[in-house]
């Protein structure tokens, strides 16, 4: 394997560059996925049948906590990548660890939020609106869950194998994924929650 030392570690081999480009293209597909979900949501938002409307079920507190936690985690993973570039394995692992913990917090609050919806009678089957809402949030939440496992695996690998072109590459790609989820959340926050509460 040819390693190009003029590049950052995560870009240093041909395969690494392929991986990163491929992942960007994958994110393009993910954008389409969420765009479709948003389209469905905006179309069905007002179609509540005999169920509750958005304004009736949305609560600001958990949403604000989720937003704060996820934004912070996006920041900490940025710090993690910065540490990785400097070759500081322990700092990087710490930041990644914090990121994952924040992700876990996010998920916890989201589960709480879902339980709230269930209690106020907004279940998956209630109406077109609730189905679209829970599918959109659920898809995002599912991505976060997957990310928690993935991030943990990467952390374990960095711990065991150190910062190699391979582990650096994986960590970098994971950070792209995490930032992406953050961006999606900002859309969810603005156009689902804020719009719905107004």
């Amino acid at each position: 394997m040819h390693i190009d030392h003029s590049q950052p570690l995560e870009y240093s081999t041909q395969q690494n560059q392929l991986n990163i480009l491929g992942f960007w293209i994958f994110l393009g597909a993910e954008i389409m996925l969420f765009a479709t979900l948003f389209t469905a949501y905006f179309t069905l938002e007002g179609r509540t049948g005999s169920g509750p409307t958005p304004a009736e079920i949305f609560e600001i507190t958990p949403v604000l906590i989720e937003t704060f936690v996820l934004l912070t985690s996006s920041f900490t993973i940025g710090l993690g990548i910065h540490a990785m570039r400097l070759g500081r394995k322990n700092a990087m692992m710490t930041f990644f660890g914090i990121t994952l913990l924040l992700g876990l917090c996010f998920l916890g609050v989201e589960v709480f939020e879902f339980m709230h919806y269930y209690h106020v009678g907004a279940t998956y089957q209630t109406s077109a609106f609730t189905a679209a809402l829970l599918t959109t949030l659920g898809t995002h939440g599912g991505h976060v869950t997957l990310g928690l496992f993935w991030g943990t695996f990467i952390l374990l690998q960095v711990k065991k194998r150190g910062l190699t072109p391979e582990t650096a590459n994986k960590s970098f790609i994971f950070s792209l994924y995490w930032h992406f989820l953050d961006v999606v959340w900002i859309f969810i926050f603005s156009f689902i929650y804020l719009k719905g509460m107004m």
């Binding site: 905006f42 179309t43 069905l44 938002e45 007002g46 179609r47 509540t48 049948g49 005999s50």
Partner: protein, 306 residues
């Protein structure tokens, strides 16, 4: 075996006779909307034929002229990149054609989506046409009449069909009077037609809707206003009223013959309120119009078992 072949050949002969003689339904319009559509179709067939012929002629010429067997062995074709003028023509001419057809298309869209030309000053006759598996229910609210699987209409009068469905998406189509439009369960669509000539026309559901789809047809009879008025009176004299229970049984999946009632189902099972003007499917503000529609959706669920 032999017999089969003679049969086949005679059939083939028949095809050409048939295709040549009897006009195709769509190209034999009996109303202003169908006529506009038939004209558009003939126009586009004309223009498109020219394109196809031009391509075929160029192709035939090139194949004939440049086939390998006609050329000396040592002929080596040149390297040609492209020519600005050729390309301008190849882009320009299609753009002109498409622009012209777009112009016609846009104009026709506005024509078929409004009261037929020449009928603007008349009050349209409103008929609600709703489909259920696999029948059509025609409600004449002004006349207080409802029919199943047949339609009587006066000639020389604009008719506004209000379409919706008790079940799958269907498409209301009377080829000789005009093109089709969907009937759906959560909104009403509008189709403007008119008949210039008295006569019997074929009508059907054109959109696949399950097992009984092929037979999902209805008869259309266009007649003079006087005959039509006579029919309305006759129905009021002879037909029995449509009750809610009766209507429920009519909705059950299956085929029915032609039926006639006084009164319409609109009284106890109104059409969905939501009218589809310009893209409402992208319009999220129309939120609460479903209150009314709830009634008939419930009915749908309990007749769905088949």
């Amino acid at each position: 075996m032999r017999k089969k072949w003679t049969l086949l050949t005679s059939m083939m002969a028949l095809v050409f006779v048939l295709a040549g003689c009897e006009p195709l339904l769509v190209l034999d319009p009996k109303g202003p909307q169908a006529e506009r559509q038939a004209n558009d179709i003939m126009l586009s067939i004309g223009i498109m034929s020219v394109i196809v012929i031009v391509v075929m002629v160029i192709l035939a010429y090139i194949l004939f002229k440049y086939r390998a067997s006609k050329q000396p062995d040592d002929y080596e074709p040149p390297h040609i990149h492209g020519n600005k003028w050729v390309e301008i023509v190849c882009v320009g001419v299609p753009i002109l054609i498409v622009a012209y057809l777009s112009f016609v298309s846009v104009k026709s869209n506005y024509i078929v989506e409004s009261t037929p030309e020449g009928y603007e000053n008349q009050e349209p006759l409103v008929i609600y046409a709703s489909s259920s598996d696999w029948k059509w229910h025609f409600s004449y609210p002004e006349e207080g009449i409802e029919t199943v699987n047949y339609l009587y209409i006066p000639t020389d009068r604009p008719i506004e069909f209000k379409l919706y469905s008790y079940g799958p998406i269907t498409s209301f189509w009377i080829p000789q009077l005009g093109g089709q439009k969907y009937a759906m369960s959560d909104m009403v669509t509008t189709l403007h037609l008119a008949a210039d000539e008295a006569g019997e026309y074929m009508g059907r559901n054109a959109n696949f809707s399950g097992k009984g789809f092929a037979e999902n047809t209805f008869n259309v009879t266009a007649m003079s206003q006087a005959d039509y008025d006579e029919w309305v009176d006759e129905v009021h004299d002879t037909a029995k009223p449509l009750t809610e229970d009766e209507f429920e049984t009519l909705l059950e999946p299956g085929h029915l013959g032609q039926m006639t009632f006084t009164g319409t189902h609109l009284e106890f099972s109104p059409a969905p309120e939501h009218a589809h003007n310009e893209v409402s499917d992208e319009d999220s503000d129309e939120s609460h119009e479903h209150s009314n529609h709830e009634n008939h959706t419930e009915e749908e669920t309990d007749h769905s078992g088949h």
